[in-house]
């Protein structure tokens, strides 16, 4: 177990190093000059050259990357070119909001998706099954921007049940979490349905039924816990998808997370922020996958870690 952990951690570090190198390289070759963005349109060539030299952007790629990584290893994520503030401060101020929304969103999609999946499996082949699967197909394909605005318009503007965007109270969290939940639920519904159907055919379910257990007990205590197992690993992978989708949902609901920070930074070629947010997101994805791999054997003894 310890050996496995160590191996996975080394792997994770290598992945993050690769991500940092690729991102930094893409930003380096991008045909857009951050110095122009800082210097503004009326700056003289001298001002531009001055700023370029101060930021070290006149140095070759390897020197720039080396300096960035040297700083990063000492915990320095650099300063935003345009906001002139430490990137770590900016990310730290926004990360809790993103993590909260992510947790609530995953919770919502699990509740919605698993419920749909179980119902569809139990009534397999009936109208309710095809209806639910159709719904899951729609939610998977629906554009986030549209769903977010529809929910906002219906529940906040028309019905007035929730605030129109913003952050602070649990009420503010409901609509953005629900948006993420609805959109992500389709995958879980389909996964859960097939997993559940498979489990319901298994010998131990037949045994349980033969023992005379109630249908309800068979489903809740025997079928569902086993059917959920393959889903657990999916949550870890889902974190990556979430990191992408959260940008739009944060935008519509005015949720002050790192997605909005990244979006603004990309528009203005604010390289230190783009690097910072990318690395933090990559960390979350790597950690999510690692956790999924570690949890699975705990709940399913058939899987052994070597």
């Amino acid at each position: 177990m310890a050996g496995y952990m160590l191996r996975r951690l080394v792997q994770a570090a290598l992945i993050l190093l690769g991500v940092s190198l690729i991102t930094f390289f893409l930003l380096y070759v991008l045909p857009a000059d951050p110095v122009r963005q800082i210097a503004g349109r009326s700056a003289t060539p001298q001002t531009v050259a001055n700023i370029r030299a101060q930021l070290g952007l006149d140095q070759p790629f390897i020197v720039q990357y080396g300096r960035y990584m040297a700083g990063l290893l000492q915990g320095d994520m650099g300063r935003s070119y345009l906001q002139k503030t430490d990137v770590a401060t900016l990310i730290a101020a926004r990360l809790p909001a993103s993590l909260l929304l992510m947790a609530a969103g995953i919770g919502a999609e699990l509740v919605i998706g698993l419920t749909m999946g179980v119902i569809a499996a139990l009534w397999r082949g009936r109208a309710v099954d095809s209806g639910l699967m159709m719904t899951s197909f729609v939610t998977v394909s629906a554009p986030q921007f549209v769903v977010a605005l529809l929910l906002l318009y219906l529940f906040a503007v028309k019905l007035g049940w929730f605030p129109i965007g913003g952050y602070g109270t649990p009420a503010h969290l409901v609509l953005p979490a629900l948006t993420l939940g609805i959109l992500g639920s389709g995958w879980y519904a389909r996964m859960m349905r097939s997993s559940m159907i498979e489990v319901l055919r298994a010998d131990f379910i037949r045994t349980a039924r033969a023992k005379g257990l109630t249908r309800r007990r068979v489903i809740l205590r025997h079928a569902m816990p086993n059917a959920i197992l393959p889903i657990i690993a999916m949550i870890g992978i889902d974190i990556g998808i979430f990191m992408g989708g959260i940008v739009i949902v944060e935008g519509v609901f005015g949720w002050p997370g790192i997605g909005q920070l990244a979006w603004q930074a990309i528009q203005r070629v604010d390289i230190p922020i783009i690097m910072g947010v990318t690395l933090v997101s990559a960390c979350a994805i790597v950690l999510g996958n690692l956790l999924a791999d570690l949890i699975t054997p705990l709940i399913n003894p058939r899987i052994r870690i070597r």
């Binding site: 857009a32 000059d33 101060q54 965007g165 935008g251 609901f253 603004q264």
Partner: protein, 538 residues
């Protein structure tokens, strides 16, 4: 030294020594607060750094410079300087400061602060995007190359007097002193902020920063010691950031927002204007902006002036204006109509595809040619580019659209690799209301260098020389000077390096409870509104 008055506004101002006691709006009520929304977080409130239209008006309310503009107008008036003298040769300005003006930290502002602030903004270490504006001050070059940290042309005479010497005449110098970059800041607060002055601003302005929660909101609180007596009217201005324009509009309709800072979203514009109750709360005004297509004069066949003229005649500006719901007026020339120096009565190139086609044929391109049109990838710009593409196709020019992020278009424009660029989303808005501001960086030889904003790479030395001569005149509003500028732009139009397409109008929406003259809501220098002078009526 002779007193020289440079504009009627200043004559009026100088005739009243106690100008701080200005006439206030008799209907104004003090107290209350407003909520303003923005999509983007505020980048910085450091007046030496901030250079986007969002933080420009915010910085204006936190800081003051020696010069200022009368609210809702483009008329210069003294700010922290109570009065000033100009030497006969126009090379020395002596500013007499107001006494008793206090920074938000309680300390009195003196001439040393003026010197410090100008040293700071021109010091390359500050990385100010506005440093170049101060190029006319003596000693600027030594500052820019880092050989000194004190601007030689700025001298403290006594605590209430500063003398600024220029190295060349500059008609726009007083406008430069009214830019945010020339705001007076206290050195101790800059030092204490340890590099984060942009997040901890301290000025002499009508408001002080009370709270800034990153990614959520900023709260400005009234400065009770503000030197303009009776101002501001509002107790607080709350800026909520991270709000989609469409969500901001919904909240405004719900009574939660007073001014949507990003304006009315295009998709909702007709709906809002079609509802008399909402339309009554929209203030329309001009702005010092022109949207244009640059034609790169170094890339064949656009190096042929007849080809450029033909393209000018092929573009249907009315149709493009319709694409943005008529939120603009078709443009005939580089300067917007409200800019001094605008040539009244000039019709520009008429829309005439038949003649354009003939001109193209006469120039040897009867079968047209292929080219590229660069455009920023946010709505409505790609749609406008498609309209331009269709217009060009009608005279046989096949343009492929390169729809890119803003930074990439700017890069291609600066590098001179883009044959044509639609300027939307990056279009020129004047830094100050003077015709020179539309020339140097975007049509003059200085901007045509690699990386400059002159994307046409247009550089005609005679025109540049006339522009320089106009800027050497002492009085920025002198009719002869404005006539020279008008002539400059007419000569530019003869060379047709641009297709001037439209001048965007501004539409500011406000809540029913907001008061103050309409001009405050389309203030040319404070977008969206002039926070110091607006008020609420309940």
């Amino acid at each position: 030294m002779k007193k020289l008055l440079t504009s009627t506004a200043l004559i009026a101002a100088m005739a009243m020594p106690a100008f701080a006691q200005e006439t206030l709006d008799p209907k104004a009520q003090s107290g209350g607060g407003i909520v303003v929304t923005y999509k983007d977080d505020v980048a910085t409130l450091d007046p030496a750094i901030g250079y986007d239209w969002q933080n420009w008006s915010m910085i204006k309310s936190l800081f003051d410079g020696l010069m200022d503009y009368a609210p809702g107008t483009t008329e210069l008036r003294p700010g922290l300087a109570e009065s000033y003298d100009v030497s006969e040769d126009g090379m020395t300005f002596t500013f007499h400061l107001r006494t008793g003006v206090k920074f938000h930290n309680g300390r009195e502002m003196t001439a040393d602060d003026v010197k410090y602030s100008l040293d700071r903004v021109t010091n390359p270490v500050t990385q100010s995007p506005g440093a170049g504006f101060f190029g006319a001050i003596a000693g600027y070059d030594a500052m820019a190359d880092g050989s000194t940290t004190s601007l030689g042309g700025v001298t403290v005479i006594d605590p209430a007097t500063v003398e600024i010497t220029l190295s060349r005449p500059d008609a726009t110098f007083l406008h430069v002193m009214a830019l945010n970059f020339a705001s007076i800041v206290p050195s101790e607060a800059v030092d204490a902020a340890n590099g984060d002055f942009g997040k901890m601003p301290v000025g002499t302005g009508a408001f002080k920063l009370d709270e800034w929660t990153i990614g959520q909101r900023l709260v400005f609180a009234k400065n009770p010691d503000y030197w303009r007596a009776g101002l501001p009217y509002l107790d607080t201005v709350t800026f909520e950031v991270g709000q989609e324009p469409i969500v901001a509009l919904l909240r405004l309709q719900n009574g939660e927002v007073d001014v949507p800072g990003d304006g009315i979203p295009p998709a909702k514009f007709q709906e809002v204007m079609g509802d008399p109750e909402q339309a009554a709360r929209v203030v329309e005004g001009g702005q010092l902006q022109t949207g244009y297509i640059t034609l790169n004069v170094t890339i064949p066949p656009l190096d042929n002036v007849d080809v450029r003229k033909a393209i000018n005649m092929a573009i249907n500006k009315d149709r493009i204006t319709q694409i943005i719901n008529g939120r603009a007026v078709p443009a005939t020339q580089p300067l917007p109509p409200s800019m001094p120096g605008y040539t009244e009565g000039y019709a520009g190139y008429a829309f005439d595809p038949e003649t354009a086609k003939q001109m193209l044929a006469d120039a040897g391109f009867a079968d047209g040619f292929e080219t590229e049109l660069f455009v920023m990838n946010t709505d409505p710009n790609p749609r406008i580019a498609q309209a331009i593409q269709q217009d060009l196709a009608s005279i046989g020019v096949s343009a492929s659209i390169q729809s890119l992020a803003q930074a990439n278009v700017i890069e291609a424009g600066g590098a001179g690799t883009a044959p044509m660029i639609w300027s939307g989303g990056m279009a020129w808005i004047a830094d100050f209301p003077d015709p020179s501001n539309f020339f140097g960086p975007i049509l003059g030889c200085a901007g045509a260098e690699e990386g400059g904003w002159n994307w046409s790479k247009f550089c005609v030395e005679e025109i540049d020389a006339e522009a320089t001569a106009a800027d050497s005149m002492l009085d920025p509003t002198a009719p002869e000077r404005l006539a020279m500028w008008s002539d400059v732009y007419m000569k530019v139009m003869e060379e047709a390096p641009w297709v001037p397409v439209f001048n965007e109008q501004r539409y500011t929406m406000k809540s029913a409870r907001m008061g103050g003259d309409d001009s405050l809501y389309v203030d040319p220098v404070s977008i969206p509104v002039n926070y110091d002078y607006v008020y609420v009526t309940e």
